[in-house]
């Protein structure tokens, strides 16, 4: 009990530091577990092994239940392309660096695979925190992450049996196919029955755990890695609405076991020496440099505009929690040593620590400025009596379409070079730059505009313009929150309250529904 309490204490400390620094918790937990390993406070290797295997099974299982392609929406193609190219590119880079550092072929293979995928936990957490989860590039990133999870898990059975020869590899892959058939059987056969029965939470949990251990039992019999089976068992329950229904029951298990897993993982690794730290830094450097580069180029080629493509790359610039699982499985199978596992753990710590910094607004903006634009940024003369629109992305499209029919010239300010290029191709005057920068706004004629419309995510971005011409030029600012509206009003602007507009439209529908006779059909949704 004391050992479990120590692991929970470490996890609690990790989450505390994470809450304080706003960085993801995983690297703190991993770093803490490496430190704990050095102290020898949790000395029972059998206990650590038990905890690791149980927690990683639950972790992968719950990750599998969350695997829904519906969440990617219409961006599956882009996500697939980004996911595959990044995966292959980083794996090749990892393999190359490992060979250059004189690692053996098996070690190099695992190091390559460890570098190939990005972290779903970190990616999703950052997207949620920045409220970008459901933006097109957020869905694209999510799609790429889910694809990479599947790739890693499906490659594992072959890789783990590689030393046993071709027949073993084929056998393991065959076993995986049998499990995939099982996924279909559970999805189509068992899940509808469970839904129909409406079991109480406890029996439902037991049934769900029964699926997990059933898959693992079959996997053991088929000689397929158990972690693969746990993930596939999760996928078998990932259909809507069942995954959502069990999510409430499974999330606490996931939170508990993932905390314990990351807090104990470092104890399986060798104590890192300066050489291992150096190697890990090199691998981390490759991930941090190559991932944004590859994803930005592929993303833009696949249709994303520059900034989201770059942000996608930065969000994906870390190794995955599945890299740790791959490493652990290889360690258990005796294919890699504790040193290689340490390098994988340290690379994950380094890259996960740096991701939040890389995705900060300052870094993104600095990198976007380096983007090569096709067209000149300079306007021939400062426009006047025009409609100045700040932000020209997807949200501006309907407005810009209507404004083309207006008598007034429209000028758009946007920082994204691809957006600017596309608008200019459509004959819209654009100024490329930061909508918060007074000089950019003045260049776009902010002081002489008939009206300014801000569609920027951050309403306070119009602060400099409100300070300067708020008294003479009407400035309309899109806002969602009440406190934002209050701020805009106090600065002399006109807030356009999207939430209130939606609330009013809802009330119109509600009153209409009320007045409609009970037997009459409900008015259709717009």
């Amino acid at each position: 009990m004391t050992e479990l309490a120590i692991l929970l204490g470490l996890a609690a400390a990790g989450y505390g530091v994470s809450r304080w620094t706003q960085f993801p918790a995983i690297p703190f937990l991993l770093a803490g577990s490496l430190g704990l390993s050095a102290t020898g406070a949790v000395g029972d290797p059998a206990f650590v092994e038990d905890v690791l295997f149980l927690s990683v099974s639950v972790l992968l299982f719950v990750a599998g239940t969350d695997l829904s392609l519906a969440r990617v929406g219409p961006f599956k193609g882009t996500a697939f392309l980004i996911g595959v190219v990044q995966f292959v590119g980083l794996a090749a880079a990892g393999l190359g660096i490992a060979y250059a550092l004189n690692y053996g072929p098996t070690d190099a293979l695992y190091l390559g695979l460890a570098l190939a995928a990005s972290s779903t936990i970190v990616g999703v957490r950052l997207l949620q925190r920045r409220q970008q989860m459901f933006e097109p590039f957020g869905r694209t990133v999510l799609g790429a992450l889910l694809l990479q999870d599947v790739l890693v898990v499906l490659l594992l059975p072959g890789l783990i049996r590689l030393p046993d020869g071709t027949a073993a590899v084929v056998g393991s892959l065959g076993g995986t196919i049998v499990l995939l058939v099982g996924v279909g059987v559970v999805m189509k056969g068992l899940v509808p029955v469970l839904l129909e029965r409406e079991l109480d939470a406890e029996t439902q949990l037991l049934a769900v755990l029964g699926v997990l251990f059933g898959f693992m039992g079959v996997a053991a019999w088929l000689n397929v890695p158990l972690f693969v089976a746990a993930f596939l068992a999760g996928i078998s329950l990932s259909g809507f609405p069942f995954s959502g229904i069990v999510h409430g029951e499974m999330q606490p298990l996931y939170d508990f076991f993932s905390a314990i897993f990351f807090a104990s993982l470092g104890m399986a690794a060798a104590r890192p020496d300066p050489t291992l730290v150096g190697h890990a830094a090199l691998f981390a450097g490759a991930v941090l440099v190559l991932t944004p580069l590859i994803v930005a180029v592929v993303g833009e080629w696949a249709g994303l505009v520059a900034r989201p493509a770059l942000e996608s790359g930065l969000l994906l610039a870390q190794t995955s929690e599945l890299s740790l699982v791959v490493g652990l499985q290889a360690l258990v199978a005796g294919q890699i040593g504790g040193e290689v596992f340490s390098v994988i753990v340290l690379t994950t710590v380094f890259t996960m620590m740096l991701t939040p910094l890389l995705t900060s607004e300052t870094v993104v903006w600095e990198l976007v400025r380096w983007h090569p634009s096709r067209q000149s940024d300079v306007l021939s003369e400062v426009p006047s009596n025009h409609v100045l629109v700040l932000g020209g992305g997807r949200n501006a499209r309907p407005l810009l379409r209507l404004l083309r029919e207006s008598d007034y010239e429209t000028v758009v300010v946007d920082e994204d070079p691809t957006v600017v290029d596309r608008l200019r191709d459509r004959g819209i005057t654009c100024v490329r730059g930061d909508g918060r920068d007074r000089s950019v706004l003045l260049e776009a004629g902010g002081a002489q505009a008939r009206v300014v419309v801000s569609l920027l995510r951050d309403p306070t971005a119009v602060g400099p313009l409100l300070d300067y011409v708020g008294d003479t030029v009407p400035i309309l600012v899109r806002v969602f929150e009440d406190h934002e509206a209050a701020w805009v009003e106090a600065q002399g602007g006109t807030p356009i309250r999207f939430a209130h507009a939606a609330g009013d439209a809802f009330m119109d529908w509600f009153r209409q529904m009320q007045s409609t006779a009970q037997n009459e059909p409900t008015p259709p949704s717009p």
Binding site: M1, T2, L4, A5, L8, G9, A11, A12, Y15, R19, A25, F47, D50, L54, S68, A70, R71, M133, F134, E135, D200, A201, E202, T203, L205, L209, G210, F213, G214, M216, G217, A220, L226, P241, G244, G248, E249, Q251, P252, D255, V387, L399, V453, P474, L476, F480, D482, F498, A499, H500, A502, G503, A505, F506, M507, F510, M513, T522, S525, P526
Partner: protein, 542 residues
């Protein structure tokens, strides 16, 4: 089956538990009976499994979480309400049971020492079985449930004393009185020290710490579990039971606004671990020698199931409790405790009793756990059957007014998510005179509202029930979380209630339409319309 021993054992245990649960479901056998049955099959019947150290740890963790959860359910007011009753009723019941049990054992010709061991073993009831069944029936909040839990906790205190006493036994029949007195003194001092530390933490440390970490839900969960473990380790260091520590840790958090969220998170984790506990209980039962002494085992079982409840039923009316509360509280404690088995094993190792008598106690445990689970599950029906005859009237028990119908709402609007959009809708609906129930996971957002509020995540059934979901006229979600919105639309459709859901982008619109949502709240679309209207009013657009 599986190369890792723990996964192999857990897999067998959970699959067996699932198999037995599904098999006996048709005869409405309570789950815990099925779990113990699965353990009996795996262990005593077929010898497929042995209990490893980690499995024992998982079982222990299950009990700790169960008691932690019970603590989380209790406010200080509730504790004050049942404190006196628990001490008096618990004392009478334990004393009466021990006396009667001892006499019964004597009647079967047992020597005094064995009779005393039997008497002590049967005077406790099972905290785990009772709490699990109360929790399953959602009766932890009911008066009879609180009395039952109170009595069980008083018994836990006595357990500490009994263990101290047994530890003071130097050998068969020899008692080191100095050790016993020292041990009891330590226990009482420890209790006072632990209680004082927890009270100080609950007053000065926990509220700001928990408020700070609660912005990170998984952090809140892990911090709370760590707090629980800290107190459990503290209790162990002070020679108190870990269960008592977990319970006190739960009470300290129960006074905070985040306790609802915590209960919803701890509950599934407890379910997972407690299943393992019950299967392990079955695995460890040694019943072989008991069959030779079945008449005594049977008599003891009948005594535990009849006399033990009657003692409580007799004393509760004298403490002012009504017929139904007394009847159902008494029925709840009609079993011995898992501690009885531990105490029996200690008595064997001290040479006080032989293995055969331990088997008898184990058999009584198995029978009373199983039968009392049925009694607890169907206690309302049993009471309905005997109530017309008013069997407790002669004890002076007052007839309780029938339970008032739940003050459920009907025809109201449930609004989920108190972001700006949600608050706006709540305000507009209230202005129109509608009855509104606001739901959110953040208690601070709900505190500012003047309508009825429900704290919790609407994907949980308990939260939906608290919002009278099925009787609502309309369900509204203002959340910008795709998966949750889809699930709420699904639940609304299942309940036959119209719904209006926030569709924050085109992709979510498509999936919500496919789910048959009655009205999509398209915030971006409506906002853009307002913007265009504003531009029209300024004659920028015609």
């Amino acid at each position: 089956m599986i190369e890792f021993e723990l996964l192999n054992s857990l897999g067998l245990m959970l699959l067996a538990a699932l198999g037995v649960t599904v098999t006996v479901r048709v005869v409405r056998v309570p789950n815990i009976v099925a779990y113990i049955g699965a353990g009996l099959l795996l262990g005593p019947a077929f010898g497929l499994l042995e209990v490893s150290h980690t499995i024992e740890l998982i079982s222990e963790f299950g009990i700790i979480l169960l008691l932690f959860l019970v603590g989380l359910e209790l406010s200080l007011d509730k504790i004050k309400e049942v404190g006196t009753t628990a001490f008096v009723a618990g004392g009478v019941q334990m004393g009466g049971t021990a006396l009667g049990g001892g006499l019964l054992a004597g009647a079967f010709g047992m020597p005094v020492v064995e009779a005393v061991v039997v008497a002590v073993a049967i005077m406790f009831s099972s905290t785990v079985v009772v709490v699990k069944m109360l929790e399953k029936r959602a009766d932890l909040d009911a008066s009879y449930g609180q009395i039952a839990v109170g009595v069980l906790l008083v018994q836990d205190l006595v357990v500490v004393m009994v263990l101290t006493f047994v530890a003071g036994l130097a050998g068969p029949g020899e008692l080191a009185w100095a050790d016993v007195v020292w041990g009891l003194g330590q226990a009482f001092l420890g209790m006072a020290l632990l209680g004082g530390l927890i009270a100080a933490a609950a007053r000065y440390v926990l509220p700001p710490a928990i408020r700070w970490i609660s912005r990170m839900p998984e952090g809140l969960f892990i911090w709370s579990l760590f707090w629980c473990f800290l107190v459990v380790l503290g209790a162990e260091a002070l020679h108190l039971s870990p269960e008592l520590g977990a319970f006190l840790a739960g009470i300290a958090l129960a006074q905070l606004p985040q306790c609802h969220e915590l209960r919803q998170r701890v509950h599934p984790l407890m379910n997972f671990f407690i299943i393992v506990f019950f299967v392990t209980l079955g695995l460890q039962m040694e019943l072989g020698a008991a069959l030779a002494r079945w008449p005594f085992a049977l008599a003891l079982t009948v005594f535990v199931m009849v006399v033990k409840p009657l003692l409580l039923v007799a004393v509760l009316p004298q403490l002012g409790h009504g017929e139904e509360t007394s009847f159902r509280a008494g029925l709840s404690l009609a079993q011995i405790s898992e501690f009885s088995l531990i105490f029996g094993a200690l008595a064997v190792s001290s040479g006080l009793i032989d293995e055969a008598l331990l088997s008898v106690i184990t058999l009584v445990g198995l029978l009373t756990f199983a039968l009392s689970a049925f009694l607890l599950l169907y206690s309302d029906r049993l009471y309905a059957a005997v109530q017309p005859y008013r069997p407790l009237a002669w004890l002076g028990a007052r007839q309780e007014a029938p339970e008032p119908p739940p003050d459920g709402l009907r025809g109201h609007v449930v609004v989920i998510g108190m972001n700006t959009l949600g608050r706006c809708i709540v305000d507009r609906l209230s202005e129109d005179g509608e009855t509104v129930v606001a739901v959110d996971t953040d208690p601070e957002k709900l505190a500012r509202l003047s309508v009825r509020t429900v704290h919790g995540n609407a994907i949980h059934e308990t939260t939906r029930t608290a919002a009278d979901w099925g009787d609502a006229r309309l369900i509204v979600s203002s959340l910008s979380i795709e998966g949750t919105n889809n699930l709420l639309a699904y639940h609304a459709r299942r309940a036959g209630v119209p719904c209006s859901i926030h569709a924050f982008d085109r992709t979510s619109e498509d999936s919500l339409r496919a789910l048959g949502v009655d009205y999509l709240i398209r915030s971006k679309h409506e906002g853009a319309r307002r913007l265009l209207h504003e531009l029209e009013s300024r004659e920028v657009l015609s």
